[in-house]
């Protein structure tokens, strides 16, 4: 009897705790999501937007850079005034020392991302370090692991916040973020060559491309002579607008426009145009 009473009492006590745990806001902590960077088509506005996403996402910058006082509130302070002041600070000995202008600010931000202790804003150093050691982790190493392009994007975002035109370089195909080892991510990595794009979307399964002898769709050899770039593009993203003679509609998927990145579409068009007759 005592066993039952005590167990029932325990159960109700535990249910009270569980109920409370279910009442508070429920947030699942997912691993950081890789931001897809379309290296072929991203412009500076895209870089700023990407930087903003990284700032509060994968970069976890807002964890400390907020109004709680752990680190300078980069979204709240006047960066246009702040950055030049830091570079001009006599204790600053970094790469942008003695320089002025947007490029100097870019160098300063990049440096602070990869080597945060190079200059520590007074009052924000590790306790006991006399503001010589920053508590900020290096952005390019674990656990943050921002790529060069991603750090450029964050720099562009902060330059934009400071009211200056970003000076960071736009990414090249070689700078696309590396695969994370996750199968799903590997599949979603953008193709960087025409052959890779054709392989990724399985075009040769239906079309005869350089001797694949597939005949579900029309042969694509010598396409440049028959179609313009715009028509090739349209044939990919809206395959049912024009149906080649001897073939039926609805045979080709009509969602390649959603599946493919803009850069991949361009790569495929360029590849198809170069196919011999």
């Amino acid at each position: 009897m005592t066993f039952a009473r005590v167990m029932i009492f325990s159960l109700f006590t535990l249910l009270a705790f569980t109920g409370f745990a279910n009442l508070v806001p429920q947030v699942q902590g997912d691993p950081p999501v890789e931001e897809k960077i379309d290296v072929g088509s991203i412009d500076m506005a895209g870089m700023v937007l990407l930087g903003e996403k990284l700032f509060s996402g994968k970069g976890t910058c807002t964890l400390c850079h907020n109004d709680m006082g752990r680190a300078p509130d980069l979204l709240g302070i006047d960066l246009a005034k702040e950055f030049p002041e830091r570079i001009a600070d006599k204790s600053y000995e970094g790469i942008a020392k003695g320089k002025t202008g947007p490029k100097a600010i870019e160098e300063y931000i990049m440096e602070s991302l990869v080597d945060p202790s190079k200059y520590v804003v007074p009052g924000y150093g590790k306790k006991g370090s006399n503001d010589k050691i920053s508590p900020m982790p290096k952005a390019d190493t674990a656990p943050i692991e921002l790529s060069k392009v991603e750090m450029n994007a964050v720099t562009a975002f902060l330059q934009d916040k400071a009211g200056i035109s970003p000076t960071v370089p736009l990414p090249s195909a070689d700078e696309a973020p590396k695969a994370t080892g996750n199968d799903e991510d590997e599949e979603n990595e953008p193709a960087t060559t025409g052959v890779a794009a054709i392989t990724k979307y399985g075009c040769a399964t239906c079309h005869d491309l350089e001797g694949s002898e597939a005949d579900i769709g029309p042969k694509l050899n010598g396409l440049a002579k028959r179609m313009t770039d715009a028509k090739i593009l349209e044939a990919i993203v809206k395959p049912n607008v024009v149906i080649a003679k001897g073939f039926e509609a609805d045979m080709m998927p009509d969602d390649f426009g959603e599946q493919m990145r803009f850069s991949e579409l361009n790569l495929i068009v360029e590849y198809l145009k170069k196919l011999p007759e």
Partner: protein
């Protein structure tokens, strides 16, 4: 006498061996490094590399077994610690009640010990089965330490059985010293086991002795063991285990009290419950300070990790933690207040209970007040900002530190009142002594409040530092009051304590402690593991399993409840078995 010296020397020798063992055993340099072989980094398993067995969820299984093992291990390691102290008190005061109670505590431990081993083994199998890459890596880092662990486990079993079964054979005189030496060895081995297991867990949070970029093993086992969070976790778990063990045996005493009908046996279990509650509170009072140190070290190791815990998605957990600790404090205090009725003088102290209750409940409410809320735009608009105008300031650390320190001070006051209720000081300076104690409380509490207010005007990074004077004030009140009481109550006139004169309600309050403690330990385990976010070993080995996410507080709460309920069912079953074991059938006439 010779045996007395021999046993003491023997105990000292064993202690020295265990103090030196880490340096001797773990100091072997990395063989691969010496041989100049290429260093291999931490494994990088892909999602497909994680075994899927049936529909089993690997993380939930490992979580459940780990937590059950930890609950039981904490209990099994803690009880011998205070049993030996009680044994010593019993030997010193010649009061056999302490000795018998320590023996009875060990009886419950014996029943739980095999279950500890069973869950430990099942946990190990689960980890090797579902996380082979991680376990392979940990084996590579800690190498021979796993064997030392196994040997220590064997030694723990041997000493535990000898300690328990030799109790009556080595009960008096010099033999008692020999018995206590065995207990000392048992505790040393037990603590060593805990420290080693802590090294593995904390290595996963703050790895050292490995290359930060690749995770390749470049240091000695000792370097990996002595990682930044090892000692803070060691201290925190050591103190928490004592509080936890006290709470569990308190639950045992409450169960026996409720189940028993005979007045004299009820009195025995009432006394045992009181002593257990005392142990739980004594362990609980310094626990927040060990917690501060642990959190400060987490911040020092990685500010990002610290903020993830205190200001990130885990922040709400500390509100739940506050609810649990508040529950524990209220239950412990309620039990003490009920205890005032055991003595005839208790009533004169009972009038102060309502004031203590106001402070405890007020402190509890401040503690549960959140600061950084996850809000929708509409909620921010309704609230008039991201923080509440009046309640927002109560959500930050200075307010919470003030609240928790005052709660601890007043919990100690409840304890002191009960202690005083059965003793009338006879020394000539009793009045002056009482005035000094009252002054201590007033000055200490004033300092706690003012240090709290100072915390509002100092930069964030120094807020934790501002809590130091508060902690010093709290500890000063406790330590100096105890010292004064020791001298003042020498030769005091003892009032009769009517053990057993307790309501059933008070026993349920006592039973709240193990339930809340167990759930709280589960919650803290969830927080500690979640701090690694999506890493098996923080920054060097990623978790690519399908469960590489931090579950919501609700999901975690449900899991912890199921585990806690299972644990409580096992423990109550052990209590029932213990009662069954001491029940004899009356011989038929």
């Amino acid at each position: 006498m010779a045996l007395n010296h021999t046993s003491k020397l023997f105990a000292l020798f064993i202690l020295a061996v265990f103090v030196l063992v880490p340096d001797v055993a773990f100091a072997a340099a990395d063989a691969a490094k010496e041989a100049g072989e290429a260093l291999v980094g931490a494994p990088k398993p892909t999602r497909a590399d994680y075994p899927m067995i049936g529909g089993l969820n690997a993380r939930t299984l490992a979580w459940g077994f780990a937590q059950m093992h930890l609950f039981l291990a904490a209990f099994v390691l803690a009880v011998p610690m205070f049993s030996i102290v009680m044994e010593y008190i019993g030997h010193l005061t010649k009061d056999e009640r302490y000795d018998s109670m320590a023996h009875e505590f060990m009886k419950i431990t014996m029943s739980a010990y095999s279950l500890t081993a069973l869950f430990g083994g099942t946990l190990a199998l689960t980890l090797f089965l579902f996380y082979p890459h991680l376990m392979g890596y940990l084996m590579k880092v800690f190498r021979g330490q796993f064997l030392i662990y196994a040997l220590l486990f064997l030694l723990e079993s041997v000493t535990l059985y000898i300690y328990y079964y030799s109790w009556n054979a080595l009960r008096y005189g010099n033999r008692k010293w020999f018995h206590m030496s065995i207990g000392l060895v048992l505790n040393t081995v037990g603590l060593s086991l805990m420290f080693i297991a802590n090294a593995w867990a904390t290595f996963m949070m703050s790895p050292s002795g490995v290359d930060p970029a690749t995770g390749a093993v470049i240091g000695t086992v000792w370097e990996a063991t002595r990682n930044p969070l090892w000692n803070p976790v060691n201290l925190h778990r050591f103190i928490a285990n004592i509080a936890y063990g006290g709470a569990i045996v308190g639950g045992y005493a409450a169960y026996m009290f409720l189940a028993e009908k005979r007045a004299e046996v009820k009195a025995h279990y009432d006394w045992m419950g009181y002593t257990s509650n005392f142990i739980a509170i004594a362990g609980f009072l310094p626990l927040p300070f060990a917690g501060y140190w642990l959190m400060a070290e987490i911040y020092a190791y990685s500010q990002q990790m610290g903020i993830t815990a205190m200001g990130g998605i885990l922040a709400w957990l500390f509100i739940i933690q506050a609810v649990l600790i508040g529950t524990i404090m209220l239950a412990a205090n309620y039990y003490l207040w009920c205890g005032l009725m055991r003595t005839d003088r208790g009533a004169q102290y009972a009038k102060y209970v309502k004031y203590i209750a106001v402070v405890i409940v007020g402190g509890f409410l401040v503690w549960v007040t959140p600061h950084s809320l996850i809000l929708t735009t509409d909620e921010i608009r309704l609230l008039g900002g991201t923080h509440h105008k009046f309640l927002g300031p109560l959500g930050i650390m200075p307010a919470k530190n003030t609240a928790v320190n005052l709660m601890l001070v007043f919990t100690f006051l409840s304890l002191q009142m009960f202690y005083r209720s059965s003793r009338v000081p006879t020394v000539s300076w009793a009045k002056a002594g009482n005035m000094v104690i009252i002054a201590l409380y007033i000055i200490g509490c004033t300092n706690i409040v003012f240090a709290g207010l100072y915390g509002y005007i100092t930069p964030t990074v120094y807020k934790v530092g501002a809590s130091v004077p508060q902690v010093v004030s709290t500890l000063s009140i406790i330590v100096f009051s105890v010292i004064i009481d020791i001298f003042m109550l020498r030769g005091a006139k003892s009032e009769k304590v009517h053990w057993g004169r307790m309501s059933e309600r008070s026993q349920y309050a006592l039973f709240v402690l193990p339930v809340a403690f167990t759930w709280l330990m589960g919650l803290m385990g969830y927080i500690r593991s979640s701090l690694r976010t999506h890493w098996h070993v923080y920054t060097v080995m990623k978790d690519q399993s399908p469960d590489a996410y931090i579950p919501t507080i609700g999901q975690a709460g449900n899991t912890i409840t199921v585990i806690t309920l299972s644990f409580m069912a096992i423990m109550v079953f052990v209590f029932w078995l213990s009662r069954l074991g001491s029940t004899s059938q009356v011989k038929p006439s």
